[in-house]
Structures are given as C-alpha cells and as structure tokens.
Symmetry: C2
Subunit: 150 residues, 2 copies
C-alpha cells in the first residue's frame, strides 16, 4: 500500500526538490525549497549557515522536517524528520553531486560560485523517522523503519 | 528580478502542490504536501482538523509557513507566512474548486468522500508575508507588499 523498497529508491532518485522546514527563534515555522541527494542511506543537502535563515535555524539547534512529493498523479510523498549534521569530508565533491543531480551544466556553474561562499555547508541527515505515501495505491501512509531504507 | 504581478499570478495558477509547515506541540517542525488554490487575493487549502497533524497544529494555534516551487528550471518559488482561518461559507464549493483544480475527475471522486469527513475544513489565508524568487532572473528574492498581490 505504500512507497518502499525499490519503488521508494526510484522515487528519491527523481529530481524533485525537497521542502525544508525548521523552527525559527520565535518558535515560528519556516520552510523553503532545497535540493537534496539520497545516497549511502542518508539524505544530503546544502545551504548556507549564516545568510540563509533555514541554515541559521539548524545552527541554532532546530530539528528539521523535510517534505518531498511528486506533483503528478499518482501522488507519492516522503516526509523525513531528523537532525542534520554539518559534513566536512570531501565537501566539494558532495556539493558537486548534489548540484549536478539537477543538471550538469547549471550545477557546475552554481558550484563555481558556491565553493567561494564562506558559510556554504553540506548537511547529512540520517532521519529519525521516515513516512511515505503512495496515493496511487490507496490513502494510507506508513512509517518506514530505519533498517528498511533502500 | 523577481516573481511578481502577472508572472506571479500565472505561477500560482500552475498546479503545483504546496508544502505546509507548522510547529507541533513539542516545538518541532512539521511539513506535508497539500493542495492550494489562489483566488480573491487569498490562499485556500483543505485539511482535516483532527486526524491530520498539520490541521491539529493549526487548531492549536500554530502559525503556518507555505512553500511552493517549480521543479523545473527556471526555478521559481513563493513562500507565505500567515495564520489561516477556518472558512465555513460555501464550504463544499470551495472544496470542489480546490480539488478539481488538480484534475476534474479525480477531484470530484475525492470530493464525494471528503464532504462526509466530520473534521474536513476549508482554510483561507491572507498571508502576512509573501516572499518570491525567480532564479531565472537572478538569485534575488523579494518580499511582495500585501497590496501588490496579483
């Protein structure tokens, strides 16, 4: 009834954007579209820790909720909850993998600017909780146990 | 440099999903994909106030942040902040407008079930703050004054 296994993996490999939600300093919700990459059973993102509010919220300790959905029927969706960590190993090659996933030419052009930004980071998140839907197979949603991440 | 006026209106009429972020009872971020409709200078949504967590958060007084983005280049995006109100006038015809915007047949099938759900509501939001991007025209984002909503 839900999105899991190879079907979940294939969905995550599609070039959807994710929508990245945090809680701001006054307890208010914040959300913005962001690139993501699913690799090595983790989710990888990039943002700026100071000049982007969503990055600043993470720096201040906000947990993160992430929503990824297909805009066409059959609707499929994945929601993640977790706490991302700043990932410094091979930062530039992770930036490149994230950016070029959405188109090689524009990704490389973006990369040439991004690597110069002093607060540019790669964030890695192994979610505490993953919920998936496949509306094409019924209304149900389901929590995917950690060990079942494809 | 940014998305405004007729271009903003045309973007909002595209059948994107929105991603609806609230703050939960423990101060945690929550987000999920949702339908929206932009009409009469307001944003219209539907959810369930009890059986959907995002609806329950609104019932508990959480403000809302909403993210809408194109998944194809040139990337365009709209972020809304505000407090939605439950809208009871002509509830069923608003439900129909929201649902059939995403396809008439499936929308009407959805509607026939939704009208029977006791906690099904229409939410109307005139945002306190609207931020738009048009990456195709540069990186800048801009706050759109209320009076400038198309």
């Amino acid at each position: 009834m839900t999105l899991r296994g190879e079907e979940l993996k294939a969905f995550l490999e599609e070039t959807h954007l994710c929508h990245w939600a945090t809680v701001g300093p006054e307890g208010e919700p914040r959300v913005r579209p962001l690139w993501y990459l699913y690799a090595e059973k983790a989710f990888w993102f990039t943002t700026r820790m100071e000049t982007r509010r969503t990055g600043a919220d993470v720096a201040a300790g906000s947990p993160v909720a992430v929503s990824i959905a297909s805009e066409e029927r059959p609707y499929r969706a994945v929601i993640l909850h977790g706490i991302p960590e700043v990932w410094s190993d091979d930062r530039d090659s992770w930036l490149q993998r994230i950016a070029t996933r959405y188109g090689e030419g524009p990704g490389l052009r973006w990369l040439s600017r991004a690597v110069k930004e002093p607060d540019r980071v790669v964030l890695r998140m192994v979610p505490d909780k993953v919920i998936t839907w496949n509306y094409g197979k019924g209304d149900g949603h389901r929590e995917i146990p950690q060990g079942e991440l494809p």
